[in-house]
């Protein structure tokens, strides 16, 4: 994969998410599409296994840097959640027709389920007394899951138009002719 192209698209997704969140959010709910999740799923469908895992971590880190439940960003919850999602995409992509926007929509939702569950679990662990981290005031896993479910739905819906753009640039990513001959991780 062309990491420069990926970096540009990841950076663009980060900028668009943070700056246009208020424009694309549904009402005042704060629900907006997760463009980095869509990008991660796209890479997950097309790239070699190792590349997918690294790209998942990068996308997750960019999500972490946007801030979460704590006052300041914490690196890890989204990075690890996206890593799990990337691994899930790797396991499932052999069952689907990869170069399809419909596939991207479905896989975005599926991968997002893994990612969001992992993120909520990690923040829940952080909030629990069993880790060194200080409790997060007002943290409620149920509220978080509720909110993130709708983010997932919106992201899956947004994956159609975003996927159409990404597939046009598959050549720039260096993914157009990838044949998954060997899906070993390392």
């Amino acid at each position: 994969m062309n990491w420069l192209t990926f970096a540009i698209f990841a950076f663009a997704a980060y900028v668009l998410e943070t700056s246009l969140r208020s424009l694309f959010a549904i009402g005042d709910s704060g629900v907006s599409p997760n463009l980095l999740l869509i990008l991660m799923t796209f890479v997950g469908l097309m790239a070699p296994a190792t590349t997918v895992l690294w790209a998942s971590i990068v996308c997750g880190l960019l999500v972490d840097l946007q801030g979460g439940a704590t006052l300041e960003p914490v690196l890890g919850p989204a990075a690890l959640g996206f890593l799990l999602a990337g691994y899930a995409v790797l396991q499932l992509r052999g069952l689907v027709f990869r170069e399809s926007a419909a596939t991207l929509v479905v896989m975005t939702f599926v991968a997002g389920v893994f990612a969001q569950l992992a993120i909520v679990m990690i923040y829940g662990l952080r909030n629990a007394a069993i880790t060194p981290a200080e409790p997060i005031p007002g943290w409620d896993a149920a509220t978080q899951l509720y909110h993130r479910f709708f983010v997932l739905l919106y992201s899956a819906a947004a994956a159609a138009p975003v996927g159409w753009v990404l597939f046009r640039f598959a050549g720039a990513f260096g993914l157009h002719h990838h044949k998954a001959r060997n899906d070993r991780l390392f």
């Binding site: 943070t18 208020s22 424009l23 704060g30 200080e134 997060i136």
Partner: protein
């Protein structure tokens, strides 16, 4: 030769760091994220600002308030965390103010006294009534009961003053009883203080105090003089440092025995300062 940092090892290292950052204390997690966050936000700012302005203009909102349930929850979490941080800062500020007040009291009282620095020319060696002799006396205004200190540590009182020398009774005398404030040595110890009377100890330390179990005293705490029987200029000087805290041998459930030792070795002093009250 295979490289040490293979891709597999690098991956494992990154995952390990992320795991640690995910569950570490806020100070550690925030520190790990601070540099990349500043870097990415700095790179994104030139692009994010105009896009954000466009989004605001298109959406038509003015100042977007928090009026959704989820946003309120998130904002509430952040406010609560900020409130906890502010409370911790307030506690530290209170402790710092206490310590400053203590220092200022010492200085204010001492500013009503003149300092006469003297050399220790002799000592008695008597364990029950230990004394030292200094080379300044009545000709310098030193009189009976003048307080003698060494730095900020209390040494004793003048019991005999001739024109050119004076004899000082050390606080390590057998029948010494002093009221002291026992406080933490710095602001990190929190806002706590205990007023107790210390007596000469037979348990291997200079002084000991018998304190109720509910009162918090820790090793390293400082004992400051707070005894009305001493002159005003002596108040606040350090009697010693807590070296041991243990259950009282006779009543371990209700009382604790606190052992205190002077900070300078009184028997090895070479210089001392006499506080002469200014009329």
């Amino acid at each position: 030769m295979t490289a040490f940092l293979t891709q597999r090892r690098a991956f494992a290292l990154v995952v390990a760091v992320l795991l640690i950052s995910s569950i570490a204390r806020n100070s550690v997690s925030f520190a790990i994220a601070s540099v990349p966050a500043a870097l990415v936000q700095g790179l994104a700012a030139p692009f994010a600002w105009p896009l954000g302005a466009i989004a605001t203009a298109l959406r038509g909102d003015g100042e977007r308030g928090v009026d959704s349930g989820v946003e309120a929850s998130v904002a509430g979490q952040r406010l609560a965390e900020a409130a906890v941080y502010i409370t911790q800062l307030e506690q530290r500020l209170y402790a710092a103010e206490q310590q400053l007040a203590q220092l200022m009291q010492t200085q204010q009282v001492s500013s009503g006294a003149r300092y006469v620095v003297a050399r220790v020319s002799g000592s008695s060696g008597d364990p029950t009534q230990p004394t030292i002799t200094i080379d300044k006396g009545a000709s310098r205004g030193i009189g009976l009961d003048s307080t003698v200190v060494s730095g900020v540590s209390l040494v004793g009182r003048v019991i005999d003053a001739s024109p050119a020398s004076a004899r000082v009774s050390l606080i390590s005398a057998k029948d010494t009883r002093l009221f002291v404030w026992i406080k933490p040595p710095d602001v990190l110890g929190g806002p706590r203080e205990v007023l107790e009377q210390v007596t000469r100890s037979t348990a291997g330390a200079m002084f000991e105090a018998r304190i109720e179990q509910g009162k918090t005293v820790r090793i390293g705490d400082i004992a400051y003089l707070a005894d009305e029987l001493w002159p005003p200029e002596a108040q606040g000087f350090i009697v010693g440092r807590v070296t041991r805290v243990e259950p009282a041998p006779d009543n371990p459930l209700q009382f604790q025995r606190v052992l205190i030792d002077p900070i300078p070795e009184l028997s090895q002093l070479r210089r001392a300062t006499v506080l002469v009250p200014v009329e």
